[in-house]
Amino acid sequence: MTPLTLTAGTTTKARRTAWVPTLVLILGALYCLIPIAWVVVAATKDRSELFSTFTFAPGGGFFQNLSDLTAYRDGIFWRWMANSAFYAGLGALLSAAVSAAGGYALGRYSFRGREAVFKMILAGVLVPSIVLAVPQYLLLSKLGMADSYGAMLLPSILSPYGVYLVRIYAAASVPAELMEAARMDGASEWRIFSRIAVPMMMPGLITVFLFQFVGIWNNFLLPYVMLADDEKFPITLGLYTLLAQGASQPALYTLVITGCLLAIVPLIGLFLVIQRFWSLDLMSGSVKA
């Protein structure tokens, strides 16, 4: 509350805690935490405890659940996790690179057709995902590429949002005078981009990377349409198929619950770590942050 004490004309009344906003925020935080807290507790229960003890009472079966999950079909769970990390990591990296070049071109050059290209790419956001996924699947299967790592990876690279964000970033953070000065010094356009613009746009590029990482990691529809071989499944589709089988055999419930917990840990951890040096506000294109 330090900034407040600096405000001119602060009275004792103004310094008091505003209870209504505080309460509303705490209730909101609790609502958001309930399922996560539940899954943390439920993952500690063994099969009998899950259905018998009070839901928020921890059990003693976490390590058993963990080894059951690891043993399930020779550790396919960890394979799904690794697949997700691969799809999301590589996909987001390529996406940030492609968005960097495309957004920079749209934000820092004026050329014929610029607005048309920009609007066309943005309109891509409006196309329902399944409208793309089904023909993508049919076309890729003609090329013999359906049900492959590429089938999941390639359609995930282009991010209209990424291009949009980098455009804003490039226009705001790479000064035209600097580019002009570099040109005078004989730097090529590629060199200006790679040595000057990319470092300056880095917060924006990290944002695109994170956004796309989360987007790919969380994607369910694309792998559901593209993939048939469960060795290539990402974690979302893997857990879904596990539950679909488990619906008839509640013995698999504990595996699904433990799997859910382990699947959300990496992303939550990622956000908790990065929020120290990366602001959430960057996500909505705030350049000031």
């Binding site: 495309g102 049919l138 857990l239």
Partner: protein, 331 residues
């Protein structure tokens, strides 16, 4: 010069100049401008290639498929027994007559009527509360409310699905303790609430951040001025903050409508836990069902094109309305 895919192309433009160095520039000062002229196109090559391959071509193919059908020759066995023939708008008239698809659209609208006002209302409320200087625990709450964004939709739906199951749910435990009636959350109208809750849970945080960012961009002196005029916190929120963040609200509304039409994950995730959820519950599920379970890619493509057109029409209508609104606002 590094070895990137763009290098070669840009180099051919820049190459002679690099050799000519200063002299070339002093002789023809207009050169640097001309040199950069093709650069933006090269930078756009990866974006446009991907856009063509994974957006334009698939849409074109879907449209082509939607105008065709399969004709089976003879008894339909052997190679060449099935051929694609022109079907004109036949698939489209089928789509418009298809009551399953119509119902799925209505369900999506019903679901959207619950999700969108609740989610955006909560997002706005939390953003305003975060922006109240005297609120405690704001950074903590902001992070917690945003956290569901990091949880994959399908996993959020699985977690809530378990919380809806009477055998394992703490809610049912409490209802039982207090002797209250125990609703079936997978039944009829409750199903909409169950799905909507998952979407609200997952989407509120992101929208909150968008609105909150807009709120923080407001210069604080406006509030000072309003306070001097005797405005209360509530008055400031209603009369200053909400009108200023209106463009953000319109934007989040716009994207929420599009997302609603595409609801897929929540009903898919809860399907194994329920009986009697139709496999064409939402428009996307109906298209998937048609394409892969009924193996009718032609009809599915026509349905998908109709959905895309509906999305476009809806989007442009919304943009038109919001444009008019903001313009009047400015005047």
């Amino acid at each position: 010069m590094t070895s990137a895919p763009l290098k070669g192309s840009v180099l051919t433009e820049a190459g002679p100049l690099a050799d000519g160095t200063g002299t070339a520039q002093s002789v023809r000062p207009s050169r640097p401008r001309r040199r950069g002229r093709s650069a933006p196109y090269w930078f756009l090559v990866p974006t446009l290639t991907l856009f063509a391959a994974f957006t334009v071509v698939p849409i074109g193919y879907a449209i082509w498929l939607s105008l065709h059908k399969v004709r089976v020759k003879g008894i339909g066995l052997g190679k060449g027994a099935r051929e694609q023939v022109w079907n004109g708008l036949g698939n489209y008239t089928d789509v418009l007559k298809d009551s399953e698809f119509g119902h799925s659209i209505l369900r999506a609208f019903g679901y959207g009527l619950i999700v969108i006002p609740t989610m955006l209302g909560l997002a706005l409320l939390f953003a305003l509360m975060l922006d109240t200087p005297k609120a405690r625990s704001a950074p903590f709450a902001r992070l917690m409310i945003f956290l569901p964004y990091a949880v994959p939709g399908i996993i959020a739906a699985l977690m809530w699905g378990f919380l809806y199951l009477p055998d394992v749910s703490p809610f049912y435990y409490l209802l039982d303790k207090f002797g209250l009636p125990q609703p079936d959350l997978f039944d009829g109208g409750n199903l909409y609430l169950s799905f909507a809750n998952i979407a609200v849970w997952g989407g509120t945080g992101f929208n909150m951040i968008v609105i909150y960012t807009a709120l923080r961009a407001i210069p604080p002196d406006i509030y000072e001025a309003a306070r001097i005029d005797g405005a209360t916190d509530l008055g400031i929120a209603l009369k200053i903050k909400i009108p200023i963040v209106m463009p953000s609200l319109v934007l989040t509304f716009f994207f929420s409508v599009i997302a609603t039409l595409q609801v897929f994950t929540e009903p898919m995730a809860l399907k194994p836990l329920t009986n009697g959820l139709p496999s064409s519950w939402s428009p996307l599920m109906a298209i998937y069902d048609k394409a892969f379970l009924q193996s009718d890619i032609y009809g599915a493509s026509a349905t998908a094109v109709v959905l895309a057109l509906a999305t476009f029409v809806l989007s442009f209508t919304l943009l038109r309305i919001s444009d008019r609104y903001t313009r009047e606002d400015r005047a």
